[in-house]
């Protein structure tokens, strides 16, 4: 009786969340692998679990799947407390990091496995498998064994196998880790299209921020067993909730003596600033610029060709600062003295992160 009431309360409390983790803790012997994780994911979203190696991404995914059990906390799926419900009854499809295809079964039997367990009639199985093979563009491969497939094909078969029993949630552990860079890019786009088309709530693990930013609607950033922040890529980018997120997302460097930069001042003793390449502009001497009165001089130490643009590294008050410059602008050489303008930077306080703007932006009438 009381349990049903609780459930209803839960649904009213947070109607938007389809998958919810509340105060989850997990230990492996003495090792605290997940620390008080609170996660809420809405229906139909494609969410990335992003964090460095060993930060507990796989552990969280496995707990949602029921392959691992939390020491404390609650896992809710579709308004049901699932802590004591076995993984196979949670409506989950799981794509393993190494795919875990059944090596002694051919592609057809792999995809059909989950349906056969459910005692679906062979006729319907055939229909579903054919449909899925078409979806993953692997028609004609049904007789092959996993070892006779390319990495990309294996990945897609694993995807089809997970989808076959029509799960409500799809969990993918580093789905692109085992394929090479080019195929990875293709698969990324493909997967995003697939998941958007199927409208299935999906969580995928990655430690590649580009992948997360490109593919996910929302990103959950983990670090040392903690959930650091949950938000859209834009939110993480412009409003990092913790120093870790500020440094992990984007290509950033830390600056201690930023009070020496022109038009910036340091409020307290012990704060550090984070500077991203997009916060900095580098101009050739004599180039006509809007902030010509506010720039300061620096020497170019390195230039890296990044395909569509150049990364220019300059030495400014003992800091090696990166900036991005279009290849269409006048060329700059190593050793050249250039003008540098810093628009803004993140300042990390003990309890918060603040965005500091170049004070001259207030004085000069400019639009960024």
């Amino acid at each position: 009786m009381s349990e049903t009431t609780e459930k209803t309360v839960e649904q009213i409390e947070n109607p938007a969340s389809y998958v919810e983790l509340k105060g989850i803790n997990k230990h492996f012997k003495d090792f605290h692998a997940t620390k008080d994780a609170n996660i809420s994911i809405s229906k139909g979203k494609l969410v990335a679990l992003l964090g460095p190696s060993g930060s507990g991404k796989t552990t969280i995914l496995r707990m949602i799947a029921g392959l691992e059990h939390p020491d404390s906390g609650e896992i809710w799926i579709d308004g049901k407390l699932v802590n004591n419900i076995p993984g196979s009854e949670r409506g989950i499809g799981f794509v393993f990091q190494s795919y875990a295809l059944f090596r002694y079964m051919n592609v057809y039997d792999n995809i059909a496995f989950g349906l056969r367990i459910k005692k679906v009639p062979e006729k319907d199985i055939k229909k579903r498998v054919t449909e899925l093979l078409e979806l993953i563009s692997c028609e004609g491969l049904e007789k092959r064994y996993p070892s006779q497939l390319s990495g990309g094909q294996r990945q897609r078969v694993a995807f089809a196998r997970a989808l076959a029993p029509n799960p409500h949630i799809l969990l993918l552990d580093e789905p692109f880790a085992a394929v090479d860079a080019k195929v990875r890019l293709e698969l990324r786009t493909w997967l995003k299209e697939m998941i958007t088309k199927l409208q299935i709530t999906s969580i995928f693990v990655t430690h590649d921020q580009d992948e997360a930013i490109e593919v996910a609607d929302e990103i959950i950033v983990t670090n040392q067993g903690r959930v650091e922040q949950i938000g859209t890529p834009q939110e993480l980018y412009s409003n990092p909730a913790s120093p870790f997120v500020a440094t992990f997302i984007g290509n950033s460097i830390q600056v201690k003596n930023f009070d020496r930069f022109r038009f910036f001042e340091k409020p307290e003793e012990d704060v550090t600033a984070i500077l991203r390449p997009e916060f900095v502009s580098v101009y050739k001497k004599g180039e006509k610029v809007q902030y010509s009165k506010s720039v300061e001089e620096a020497v170019v130490e390195d230039i890296i060709f990044r395909g569509s643009n150049l990364e220019i590294k300059v030495r400014l008050h003992d800091n090696l600062i990166s900036s991005v410059r279009s290849i269409n602008e006048p060329a700059i050489e190593i050793g050249e003295t250039v003008d540098v303008f810093i628009f803004r930077l993140f300042v990390i306080f003990k309890d918060r992160i603040e965005l500091f703007y170049n004070r001259s932006l207030n004085n000069e009438t400019v639009i960024i």
């Binding site: 799947a65 059944f102 367990i117 029993p165």
Partner: protein
């Protein structure tokens, strides 16, 4: 290339040594067994082989082997499965215990059972009152055979199961497959050839076991004599034709096992190549 040319002589010397060695220590004795077995002519051989006690000993050997292989197959799969797929306390200890029979002398294995189940043993009273006789009876022989052969199957399976990992089983479990289905459909194909190979090794060892069985059997002719014990008995009684004829039965059984082993190795290798 150069290295091979230099070692051309060495290669031939080594090959000759191997052949001479095998001829002297293996082939010659085998030929001698056959020759001696037939010394009294075909009739004598047939008579010796179809001797009532010889047949009984053969039958007992086969029975003990079947029991030991059956039980060890079950035990070996269970042990290998739990050692590779689960984490638990005492795992190291269990793993070490499995190897014990390889390191302990078979005689000692026999004596352990005599002490446990014999008149002075703690279980004797209970067993006796229920009319169960273990030592100097067939159960004792089976026990001894199981003891000396029990690492063979699990030791073949453990490396295969370790290499496979637990991913495939977890994937199957998440799709709702029950443990037995997972074993049958997912795990078993991986271990099939290793298991057969382990069974062959176990069979070969079980058929030839002498030491532990000798302690436990009590040498009751026609009752508790296995083939190796029977051969020993005939030999001690200077019945060379009989001893060697009985030996030839054991040799034929061994050759069958050897051929099986070869076939399994070939087939298994082919299938593994496909699934690399």
């Amino acid at each position: 290339m150069d290295i091979r040319k230099d070692k051309g002589v060495l290669k031939w010397v080594l090959i000759v040594i191997c052949f001479v060695f095998l001829s002297v220590f293996l082939l010659l004795p085998l030929v001698y067994i056959i020759a001696t077995a037939f010394r009294a002519g075909i009739q004598g051989y047939i008579k010796a082989v179809t001797d009532e006690y010889a047949l009984k000993a053969t039958w007992l050997t086969i029975r003990a082997t079947l029991w030991a292989v059956g039980i060890n197959t079950f035990f070996g799969i269970s042990a290998a499965w739990c050692l590779t797929k689960f984490a638990f306390k005492g795992k190291k200890l269990l793993s070490t215990f499995i190897d014990l029979p390889v390191t302990v002398s078979p005689i000692i294995a026999g004596l352990i059972y005599v002490l446990t189940f014999g008149r002075q043993g703690p279980l004797y009273g209970f067993l006796d009152s229920h009319g169960i006789q273990i030592i100097f009876a067939v159960p004792g022989i089976v026990l001894a055979t199981i003891f000396v052969t029990f690492p063979f199957i699990s030791r073949e399976l453990i490396p295969v199961l370790t290499a496979q990992g637990t991913d495939e089983e977890e994937a199957a479990a998440l799709m709702g497959a029950r443990t037995f289905t997972i074993f049958r459909k997912v795990t078993f194909p991986h271990i099939k050839w290793a298991l057969l190979y382990g069974i062959v090794l176990c069979t070969a060892r079980a058929m030839g076991e002498f030491g532990a069985v000798s302690v436990l059997s009590g040498h009751l002719r026609g009752k508790t004599n296995t083939l190796p014990l029977y051969i020993e008995l005939l030999y001690q009684g200077y019945d060379f034709t009989g001893a060697f004829a009985a030996s030839s039965i054991l040799v034929i059984m061994a050759v069958i096992i050897l051929i099986l082993r070869l076939v399994i190795e070939q087939k298994g290798k082919k299938e593994i190549d496909i699934n690399r």
